[in-house]
């Protein structure tokens, strides 16, 4: 329990770092930290494979991509404008409201009681079995999506500037 609160607090702190820090590099580091800590949460939730995938995919690839782009373009720190726009304020208020709503949802739900986990729950075999039976079509479609994304990304990034 203590471990959970410790990790939860760290996670929230890193998430806040992403959003609050003006330097995008720090944001990226905050992001990778958040994602890593969420992976730890996954481990605590008996989803080891997902946790490792989380680290490999997010930390190992996605955030690196962010960092790479940030460095490539030499993005500078954001200049914080003196006044926060009205829309921004209203948005923040709504965000707060939303967080409260979601939290209340989570707490109001009647917990169906922790069930006994079967042996091998969260194992690679079980996930693979689910993935290749129920999720077969989605899996194939996802592969297609990835292909399209790769092609699209390459085409867009290669396009020369006109004029």
């Amino acid at each position: 329990m203590i471990a959970f609160y410790f990790i939860a607090l760290l996670t929230l702190a890193s998430a806040l770092l992403v959003v609050l820090h003006r330097n995008p590099i720090y944001s990226a580091l905050g992001l990778v930290n958040t994602l890593f800590l969420i992976a730890v949460s996954f481990v605590m939730l008996d989803a080891e494979l997902i946790a490792m995938l989380q680290v490999i995919v997010y930390a190992g690839a996605i955030v690196i991509l962010f960092l790479f782009v940030i460095m490539l373009l030499n993005v500078e720190s954001e200049v914080r404008s003196a006044r926060i726009s009205k829309i921004g304020t209203a948005g923040l208020a709504f965000v707060l409201l939303f967080a409260v709503e979601l939290a209340v949802f989570a707490l109001v739900r009647d917990p169906s009681g922790a069930q006994e986990l079967p042996a091998g729950f969260g194992s690679t075999e079980l996930l693979a079995e689910t993935l290749f039976s129920k999720g077969m079509l989605s899996f194939e479609l996802t592969s297609l999506l990835l292909l399209v994304a790769v092609v699209g990304a390459v085409v867009m990034a290669r396009r020369k500037v006109e004029s």
Binding site: L12, V57, E78, L92, A103, A114, L131, M156
Partner: protein, 101 residues
């Protein structure tokens, strides 16, 4: 380690809200994308937590797909961003408003 599922849900809700706030308030396009990733991960967390609660692998399976889609999204998003940057020399979302009247 028997943490009630609600704790994870609340944690996820908070992360989601933080991501939301990031999307709404940050001007840097890349940071907005990062905040979107935060939101996606918050959802992943709820999926995994509920997957354990309901003793069903479906939640984890969906997380798998979410990750894949997120990877694709980032790749395309950053490529778009690079294309925009090469034309407009800006990374600020409020300066990029092509789709308007």
């Amino acid at each position: 380690m028997n943490v009630p599922v609600e704790n994870y849900l609340v944690l996820a809700a908070l992360i989601f809200a933080i991501g939301c706030a990031g999307v709404l308030t940050r001007r840097n396009f890349i940071v907005i994308l990062m905040s979107v990733e935060l939101m996606l991960n918050a959802v992943n967390l709820t999926f995994v937590a509920l997957s354990r609660q309901l003793v069903s692998m479906d939640g984890q399976m969906i997380v798998f797909f979410v990750m894949t889609v997120a990877a694709a999204e980032v790749a395309v998003g950053l490529a778009i961003f690079l294309a925009i940057y090469s034309q407009r020399r800006t990374v600020n979302a409020d300066e990029i408003s092509l789709l308007r009247w």
